[in-house]
């Protein structure tokens, strides 16, 4: 087993990995940019090292800087988390070349399955249906011809991408050039790779993915599906398992397709096979493979009882998967909601600022994987996800009620969040029936506004009582060393300015 792991990431996934390491008795090294000097992940690790200024290209995407830290502090393994360098086969090679273990698949498997182009070819060879598309050229004229052949609407997608970044829907030939340009820019910015490809758009599909795992001893398993149809801006916001769409037969066939991919490339460690399912005829198409841990991995952990991060570490250390396909099953129903600092009533625009107060819901079957806590800043530099809220219910109805309870008990003050939007999603008739497809948010929430904004009397009363009872603490509290006074002109302490203490 490893002695010291460097976590080349930030936010909730870095926190998640650090905790798994602590429980395994493995020391941890966090890296951070200047924007994250006081972030949660830097507080929890055994050692925390600055790697650069806020822009990812100069910090979390700077493989050389990170590898230098890993070498200097004597790490013997590196966990890339998701995003950033996690799907960068070149970086994985550098890590391995430096004599460290890479907690993820081999660079060869990352190249084969991580690139949509070769992944589609591999899956097609293995007999798994794929969505019609075009990836033979980057030339705009070729792409225009191909789009016409596929038939509009087409999807423009980033070859190196994921999470909806660089993705564009194009309804007519005239829109294609601008969409290509914009998608390439976003792809280059996000992944350092501007290449894009085209894909046929399936109407109202369901997004269903399978968690897979391989080990160095030739074992391959899948850990069942996650349905991730609830998306905004092509990013998942609500995920659940089991999928309300799948029956035992479809689940078995899709699971076999997922395992075919693992076996085709001798895949080792955690991966996810994404499929589109056409709800009209229940046919499924391979979409892409993510050769890393997935944001929504906790719902799989809740229903299977497997700790995926610990399993990643164990498999990377050469241990076999300690159970067989027959020994793992789905039990109960799990839902995850991603808590974002964003304004759903305003095009899901990200919001930034200081978390003045975070109170996470607690209770049986409620899990919160947070990357931010009271006093932390959400900045413009990174993804505005604050936390993931995961519930495990006895069945789907129970899980939905538990999620609604948990969302309504999640306190986040100081930022605009999507919490009331998520409650509206969870309580929407179409979602409750288990019939929401990937166009659910666009179809039913295009003009969504939060519930009536007139505060009830007791809210005003609470505010006024807090003026009285908090009183002193407001103006006089030095919030952070070097921070500015918050400047409440009503505070009776305002005029005191500085203060002296400790006259003993």
């Amino acid at each position: 087993m490893f002695n010291k792991i460097l976590i080349a990431n930030r936010g909730e996934v870095a926190v998640r990995i650090i905790r798994a390491c602590q429980e395994l008795g493995i020391r941890t090294v966090a890296v951070y940019s200047d924007a994250d000097a006081d972030a949660l992940h830097t507080m929890l690790a055994d050692e925390s090292v600055r790697i650069g200024p806020p822009p990812p290209s100069q910090s979390y995407l700077c493989g050389d800087c990170i590898l230098e830290v890993a070498r200097r502090l004597g790490c013997d393994a590196l966990h890339p988390g998701y995003g950033f360098l996690s799907e960068n086969a070149g970086f994985a090679e550098s890590v391995l070349g430096a004599g460290l273990a890479w907690i993820g698949p081999s660079p060869a498997a990352m190249r084969t399955m991580g690139s949509k182009t070769s992944a589609r070819a591999t899956m097609q060879a293995a007999g798994v249906p794929i969505v019609p598309g075009y990836q033979e050229s980057q030339d705009d004229a070729d792409l225009l011809v191909a789009a016409g052949r596929i038939g509009f609407p087409v999807l423009v997608k980033a070859t190196a991408g994921g999470g909806g970044k660089g993705m564009r829907i194009v309804d007519a030939p005239a829109e294609l050039p601008a969409a290509l340009q914009s998608a390439r820019r976003e792809a280059r910015n996000a992944f350092g790779d501007a290449r894009i490809y085209l894909e046929k758009l399936i109407r109202s599909p369901r997004h269903i993915e399978f968690q897979v795992f391989g080990d160095a001893h030739g074992n391959a398993i899948h850990l069942f599906e996650r349905e991730c149809s609830i998306q905004r801006r092509h990013q998942k916001i609500v995920e659940e398992t089991p999928s309300p769409l799948l029956d035992a037969d479809l689940r078995r066939r899709m699971g076999e397709a997922a395992l075919a991919a693992v076996r085709a490339v001798g895949y080792v460690n955690a991966g996810t096979l994404e499929f589109l399912v056409d709800p009209a005829d229940r046919s499924f198409y391979f979409l892409e493979m993510n050769t890393r841990l997935q944001v929504e991995h906790p719902i799989t952990e809740q229903v299977t009882g497997v700790d995926l991060v610990k399993l990643q570490i164990q498999v990377a250390a050469g241990q076999p998967i300690p159970f067989t396909q027959a020994q793992v099953g789905q039990r109960r129903h799990a839902i995850e909601c991603r808590i974002y600092a964003e304004d759903p009533a305003n095009g899901f625009m990200p919001s930034v600022g200081k978390v003045l107060r975070a109170v996470e819901p607690v209770g049986p079957g409620v899990r919160v994987d947070a990357g931010v806590t009271t006093g932390d800043e959400v900045t413009v530099h990174y993804d505005p996800m604050i936390a993931k809220l995961i519930v495990l219910g006895e069945d789907r109805a129970d899980a939905m009620r538990k999620m609604d309870w948990a969302l309504s008990h999640y306190v986040l003050l100081g930022l605009v969040t999507n919490i009331s939007f998520l409650r509206a999603v969870i309580n929407h008739e179409v979602f409750r029936r288990g019939e929401a497809a990937t166009d659910f948010v666009d179809r039913f929430f295009a003009d969504w506004l939060p519930p009536a904004n007139e505060p009830p009397d007791l809210v005003l009363a609470a505010a006024a009582l807090s003026e009285l009872l908090e009183g002193a603490a407001v103006g006089a509290t030095p919030v952070a060393v070097g921070g500015k006074a918050q400047g409440d002109p009503y505070s009776p302490w305002q005029h005191l300015g500085g203060y002296r203490v400790g006259q003993d």
Binding site: K165, V380, H409, L458, V459, A463, S466, E470
Partner: protein, 171 residues
């Protein structure tokens, strides 16, 4: 001693008075009166009792802004500026043709310069935040009169980026 607080909600001002009576508070909100037992068990949290009902409120102060989380919802209130200084609308501030940042972010690129003629829908500024790219486009044809930002700059939400005089304005 009765204390009065006012809060601004949209254009409306609401007044709350609080008077302490032993362990309790006599609170009026507009015309409604409430007898409330209030306790502050920790910084930023209030336990309230109104009849048989208990409420847990989390309150955070940020300058004049008050955040209140109660009964599963979060509310934002503003205390009015003490000097009652009001911004004059439409004068002194940015012109009618000004374009503001719809989100806080990093300016990726400024695609126009002062004096440029622009068409409706023409991209003027590219903003990026949290990996999302946003294109600020001209709402109508006109001429760029002022550029307030440059590539690499971090801008706040609502900050004016570019000012445009419309063709119809006769400039």
């Amino acid at each position: 001693m009765k204390t009065e607080f006012t809060y601004q909600i949209g254009d409306e001002t609401r007044t709350v008075t609080v008077e302490r009576e032993g362990d309790c508070f006599q609170v009026t909100v507009g015309d409604n009166a409430y007898q409330i037992r209030a306790q502050r068990p920790e910084h930023g949290r209030l336990n309230l009792q109104v009849g048989d009902r208990r409420l847990r409120a989390y309150v955070a102060h940020d300058g004049l802004r008050r955040y209140v989380a109660m009964a599963g919802q979060t509310w934002t209130l503003e205390r009015p500026q003490p000097q009652q200084k009001r911004r004059r609308v439409g004068a002194g501030g940015p012109g009618a043709g000004s374009l503001e940042a719809a989100m806080p972010g990093l300016v990726l690129d400024v695609l126009v310069a002062e004096g440029d003629e622009v068409q409706q829908g023409q991209p003027l500024v590219l903003l990026s935040a949290m990996k999302m790219e946003l294109r600020i486009a001209a709402p109508a044809a006109g001429r760029v009169t002022k550029v307030h930002c440059q590539a690499g700059q971090v801008v706040e939400r609502g900050q004016v980026l570019v000012e445009i005089a419309r063709k119809e304005d006769g400039i």
